[in-house]
């Protein structure tokens, strides 16, 4: 029998499970066996597909046929008619014209994409980002047309407010409320700003989003501007992102040429345009007031709030600042509706979140999952687990402002409140998986080194305090830690967290405080036993030559300081006083005769 190698996707979201999706899987397998199709047809599970009201959902690819309200009784028919005969069943097929989740239409890669749900990244990796036709053909700018043509600004604000969308930059302020506050301000002109000053080490969500689908951001901003009464927008993007800059610039030019930016957009009374501002890469410029200063041409330093930018932002005027991911959600909310958007996610956190998954995980990458997905699902299902058979140790979310969570928090669902409760933050989307080979004190030191270096220098706690914390951490990892150092870190960290001027300082101690909370024994070992269990801290480890040594002399020849001695064909020894712990001998030895201790 010549059967198309179909791939079937079963929605494994909560709603579909409740309406019997898992029983479908069993029935499906039985039927495939009966028809001898187990080789040709594969079954994949997906996270919530966002069609909960029509579940359980079963998708047949190629062809992207979506079957809704499928029961066990329907399975034999689907297999017989569709899979065997190639005749899709019209009775069961549903037409869903959502903007999201185009991935199943074009991708096979269901293991990786299975638990994902793509709302903001819906076009990334699908369309040619430099061709506005690609975007237009996928209902691009239709949300803008709907907003300016069929909705009042108040209705747009209300829709966004109803959607439950919260700022994706990290703090999670309700976007609709921010817009409402700004819309209520009398002063004109008003501004909208897109914060594309992505600065977390290892994070690339914004860059990828803009590079993959720049028009979504443009469209989102135009809708926001219409909603609050702005006619000028700015995209603040770091100069280190030349390709993203080129593509967003091209997108703005193309949109302008199509009458989607500029005067009287789509024949309406609404006029709006966007300018690009390049940031020089200071981390603090991601903080909204610092970003505003930078756009104004001043030194990028935060200022105290209130007044908030909604009241007095760019040039002292009412301003809405949202980050790339937040803006990218807007067209979907307008077109698919707040009611649909609210079905995705958890009670307090609606929609999806993009993460840059990195570190000791098999599938590093850019992912987007519904809120409420657990850390375990992200790391093991999407990420494919820890490579090389190593043990999971910790996951770091929120970048340098976040915290390190140990294994007992793996079932924490991704939402703003749960992550804070667990001792970390959502942040803008950095997620770094750490395995047993990492030293948590060293990890904390790494992040603090970053924030210490990126502190703008304005407020005392952040400028001076992070420096002192870093000095203490450095001496701990250097094996010079003193009793009381942990308490000093906690005292300084607590003060900095509560006293700093802006979010950078307030969150700078988080990596340290969370590792002390969750991995205190590691700190204590460093200080009291001068021991680094992960064997990362150079000063705390030494190399020894064990009995496996055959006396080949390779280590002796490679040692830069002449610390290794020994006669040919007899076991060598390392002079610990001379050894500088460079690790060259360890890497050179072919007989695993050199051990870290």
């Amino acid at each position: 029998m010549n059967v198309t190698p179909y791939r079937i996707i079963l929605c494994d979201g909560t709603a579909c499970i409740n309406s019997g999706a898992r029983a479908l899987a069993t029935a499906l397998r039985e039927q495939l066996e009966r028809h001898g199709l187990t080789e040709q047809v594969t079954i994949g599970l997906s996270g919530c597909l966002g069609m909960c009201d029509k579940g359980p959902i079963l998708v047949v690819n190629p062809g992207y046929t979506i079957y809704g309200r499928v029961t066990e009784k329907d399975i034999p028919e689907i297999v017989q008619e569709h899979l065997v005969k190639g005749q899709p069943i019209a009775r069961l097929a549903i037409q869903e014209d959502h903007l999201y989740n185009r991935f199943f239409r074009v991708f096979g890669d269901a293991k990786f994409f299975g638990k994902q749900m793509r709302i903001t990244l819906r076009n990334c990796g699908i369309i040619d980002p430099e061709n506005i036709d690609d975007y237009l053909s996928l209902r691009g700018y239709e949300a803008l047309a709907k907003a300016v043509g069929e909705m009042t600004p108040e209705q747009v604000v209300a829709e966004v407010e109803k959607s439950g969308l919260r700022g994706r930059g990290g703090a999670g302020f309700p976007t609709g409320r921010k817009w409402k506050l700004t819309a209520a301000e009398k002063a004109t002109p008003k501004y909208v700003i897109c914060n594309a000053d992505e600065g977390d080490p290892g994070a690339f969500m914004d860059r990828s989003a803009i590079e993959g689908d720049p028009h979504t951001v443009v469209e989102g901003m135009a809708i926001g501007a219409y909603a609050i009464g702005a006619s000028q927008g700015f995209i603040y993007i770091r100069a280190e992102y030349p390709l993203a800059i080129r593509r967003i610039r091209r997108a703005i030019d193309d949109a302008r040429a199509h009458g989607l930016l500029g005067q009287n957009i789509l024949g309406s009374n609404f006029s709006f345009d966007i300018e690009i501002r390049l940031g020089a890469g200071a981390f603090v410029c991601g903080e909204e007031t610092a970003l505003i200063h930078s756009v104004e041409g001043a030194r990028g330093m935060p200022r105290p709030r209130p007044p908030y930018p909604a009241v007095a932002g760019l040039y002292g005027q009412p301003t809405v600042i949202n980050n790339v991911e937040t803006w990218a959600n807007i067209p979907v909310i307008i077109l698919d509706g707040a009611n649909w958007f609210r079905t995705v996610g958890t009670e307090t956190s609606k929609g999806t979140k993009v993460f840059a998954l990195a570190g000791k995980v098999v599938n590093t990458g850019l992912i987007e999952v519904p809120m409420g997905t657990t850390l375990r699902e992200i790391i093991y299902d999407v990420g494919g687990g820890i490579p090389s058979g190593k043990c999971f140790k910790s996951v770091q979310t929120g970048g340098p402002s976040g915290g390190c969570l140990p294994e007992q928090y793996l079932d924490t669902p991704i939402d703003y409140e749960s992550l804070v409760k667990a001792g970390s933050i959502m942040g803008s989307g950095g997620m770094i998986v750490i395995d047993e080979d990492s030293c948590m004190v060293d990890v904390a030191r790494f992040f603090l080194e970053f924030t210490q270096d990126e502190s703008c220098g304005k407020c005392t706690p952040c400028r001076e305090g992070t420096k002192r914390m870093l000095e203490i951490l450095t001496r701990i990892t250097d094996g010079k830690g003193q009793p009381g150092d942990i308490e000093k870190l906690e005292r300084l960290g607590g003060m900095i967290r509560k006293s700093s001027l802006c979010g950078l300082g307030q969150s700078a101690p988080n990596p340290v405080l969370s590792t002390i909370k969750n991995f205190r024994p590691e700190y204590e070992e460093h200080i009291h036993e001068k021991k680094c269990r992960a064997k990362v801290c150079k000063s705390l480890l030494h190399y020894e030559i064990i009995e496996k040594c055959v006396g080949c002399g390779a280590c002796r020849r490679v040692c830069p300081v002449g610390a290794i001695t020994g006669a040919a064909k007899s076991r060598h020894t390392i002079d610990q006083d001379k050894c500088v712990r460079c690790g060259l001998c360890f890497n050179t030895c072919k007989f695993e005769a050199i051990a870290k201790a």
Binding site: R303, P304, E454, K458, C459, R491
Partner: protein, 592 residues
């Protein structure tokens, strides 16, 4: 301002306060003085030092009281164990990155950081570590910058840009390495710094100090082979008492004359005499320009900081600037000519020293165009602060000393010369004389209230013989900038303009005594008291118009001839030149 009353609770006690204020302002009215550092009422709120943090019930972070507004029912705690420790630690962090050289520091005993450390009760240091280090900038003629002592409160930066409009200072680099410096890390000498010294006034530590000339002066005072002549500016007498713990606004003229003699000066003259002389010259210049049609407006040139600022930012108005030298430079020119001749002294063997409320006068004194017969006219300028220190250092009992009189003939002055030290004073003095020169009649109501007071830009009108003279006054370079923009927009709006570089005029000069423990730098009440001391002195005099000063009249008779004579021009007038330090776009630059 919203004057609705609301109820707040501070440390469990209820208070009714005005709505619309910050927590700090409200607490100030309730008898709390929350510790503070970067806050200054005249400057924008920085919220940087975090010393003024308080706890507000329901908020998870501490709140900087300088910038957070009060709300009805707000519960505020200023002294809990937690907040006291956090505040203490913040101040310790400042000290940990500050040199430990209090004993040898110029601000020892008058340092806000020192006072804070004391009141926080920091008896041990927990967090000592590395300290930042940058070289001192010794290049400036007036102001020395020592970044090691800077605690980055940012008051100087805000003063320099917001009040003075110079924008010379800014923060550079990041984090722990942050440092306040002129653009491109230029030395002061090559920067747009106007030398006004207001950064010194607002600096809590010794990160900014004046270029110190006290050692050099002590040395010269011991040189028996020269004749030592001193002059001091009007505002010095109104403020120097503060440096000795006396109440603000006490006139110490006689005591200062006596003290300077005890320091070793042979003659002590009054800059107010040459202020009168300035009025004669400048008043005549005004009349001449009014009659010949320009160039108008005529703009005063007494303030050295304003002159440098003008040369840099408003060179197109150089023709409008009065050619008169400042009173200090006029006096010094006369010391080395008229008076030296009279006393049969070799001007090369004459040391001319000026005690000034001003740091920019150090810069002015070094201007080559002010040389007289190849000699520097003013050899040394010391500020009020430096003079006070010298008097203390020399063991002179300034507070109890018996007042003495100035030497003659360059020591007698009218009340008009006295009020030079206050914003509007030069204008008022000029009107007193110009009116009479123009109309031939004596002005009866000589106190011109329109142009008194601390409003930034003041406008006034004087009717002389049916002719209206439109005048304007600005003090502080930021206000000067505003006024000059008005002039740029309408050149005919004013005919005569007085500009003083410092807030309040010379009484708020960059060389005046530091604020004491319980006051703030450039406190408005303090400025008003100093001004009042000068106005009182004016009223106490029988001669209140410059042209009535008999010694000025004699000077013209014996030496100068008449105002604007050739001799006057040679000795009392000068010219200014456009300056374009780096960072200033030359007006000739074409933007492509």
């Amino acid at each position: 301002m919203d004057t609705k009353k609301i109820t707040i609770t501070i440390n469990d006690k209820q208070y009714k306060v005005d709505a619309g204020q910050t927590i700090m302002q409200a607490a100030d009215t309730c008898g709390y003085r929350i510790p503070r550092l970067c806050y200054h009422p005249k400057l924008s709120v920085e919220g940087a030092c975090r010393v003024c943090i308080v706890q507000v019930e329901g908020m998870k972070s501490f709140v900087a009281s300088c910038c957070y507004p009060v709300a009805d029912g707000m519960k505020i705690y200023t002294n809990t164990k937690e907040i006291r420790q956090a505040r203490r630690d913040i101040v310790e962090l400042l000290v940990d990155n500050h040199p430990e050289d209090c004993h040898t520091c110029e601000r020892d005993g008058n340092c806000e950081l020192q006072r804070l450390v004391y009141s926080m009760g920091i008896r041990h240091r927990h967090f000592t570590g590395a300290r930042k280090h940058y070289e001192k900038d010794l290049s400036g003629a007036s102001v020395i910058r020592d970044p090691d002592k800077c605690i980055l409160c940012g008051r100087c930066v805000r003063m320099c840009s917001e009040i003075q409009g110079v924008h010379c200072l800014g923060q550079a680099y990041r984090g722990f390495n942050t440092v306040v410096m002129p653009a491109y890390n230029m030395p002061f000498a090559e920067s747009v710094c106007s030398c006004c010294g207001q950064c010194i006034n607002v600096c809590p530590t010794a990160a900014f100090v004046e270029k110190n000339h006290t050692q050099e002066l002590f040395e010269k005072l011991n040189d028996r082979s020269v004749v030592k002549v001193a002059q001091f500016a009007p505002s010095v007498r109104a403020a120097i008492g503060e440096a000795f713990g006396l109440p603000v606004g006490r006139n110490m003229e006689g005591q200062l004359v006596a003290a300077l003699r005890r320091l070793g000066f042979d003659y002590v003259f009054d800059t107010q005499f040459s202020a009168d002389l300035t009025i004669m010259e400048e008043g005549s210049e005004l009349l001449e320009r009014l009659q010949s049609g320009g160039p108008l407006p005529l703009i005063t040139s007494c303030s050295s900081a304003w002159m440098k600022y003008m040369e840099q930012f408003y060179p197109e108005f150089i023709e409008n600037i009065s050619t008169c030298k400042s009173p200090m430079s006029m006096a010094s020119a006369l010391f080395k000519t008229y008076w030296a001749e009279k006393m049969k002294l070799d001007p090369k063997k004459l040391l001319s020293v000026a005690v000034m409320c001003c740091t920019a006068k150090k810069y002015e004194a070094a201007r080559p165009e002010l040389e007289v017969q190849g000699l520097r006219a003013t050899d040394i300028v010391v500020t009020t602060r430096e003079a006070a220190w010298m008097i203390k250092s020399a063991g002179i009992d300034f507070v109890n000393i018996r007042p003495e009189k100035f030497d003659t003939p360059l020591g007698l002055s009218s009340g008009a010369g006295t009020i030079f030290g206050v914003t509007g004073g030069v204008m008022e003095a000029a009107i007193r004389t110009a009116y009479e020169l123009y109309t031939g009649e004596t002005l009866i109501d000589i106190e011109v209230n329109d142009i008194r007071g601390l409003k930034g830009v003041k406008e006034g009108r004087v009717v002389m013989d049916g002719q209206e003279l439109r005048v304007a006054v600005a003090h502080g370079l930021g206000n000067a900038h505003q006024l000059m923009e008005m002039v740029r927009a309408d050149r005919n709006r004013f005919q005569f303009i007085e500009i003083m570089g410092c807030p309040g005029g010379c009484i708020g000069g960059g060389g005046q005594p530091y604020a004491t423990a319980n006051s703030i730098p450039l406190d408005e009440e303090c400025l008003k008291c100093r001004a009042q001391a000068l106005y009182d002195l004016d009223r106490s005099k029988t001669i209140r118009r410059s042209h009535d000063n008999p010694d000025v009249q004699r000077l013209y008779r014996e030496f100068l001839g008449r105002p604007l004579s050739e001799k006057s021009h040679e000795l009392l007038h000068t010219h200014y030149h456009a300056k374009t330090p780096r960072g200033i776009v030359s007006p000739n630059l074409k933007v492509v």
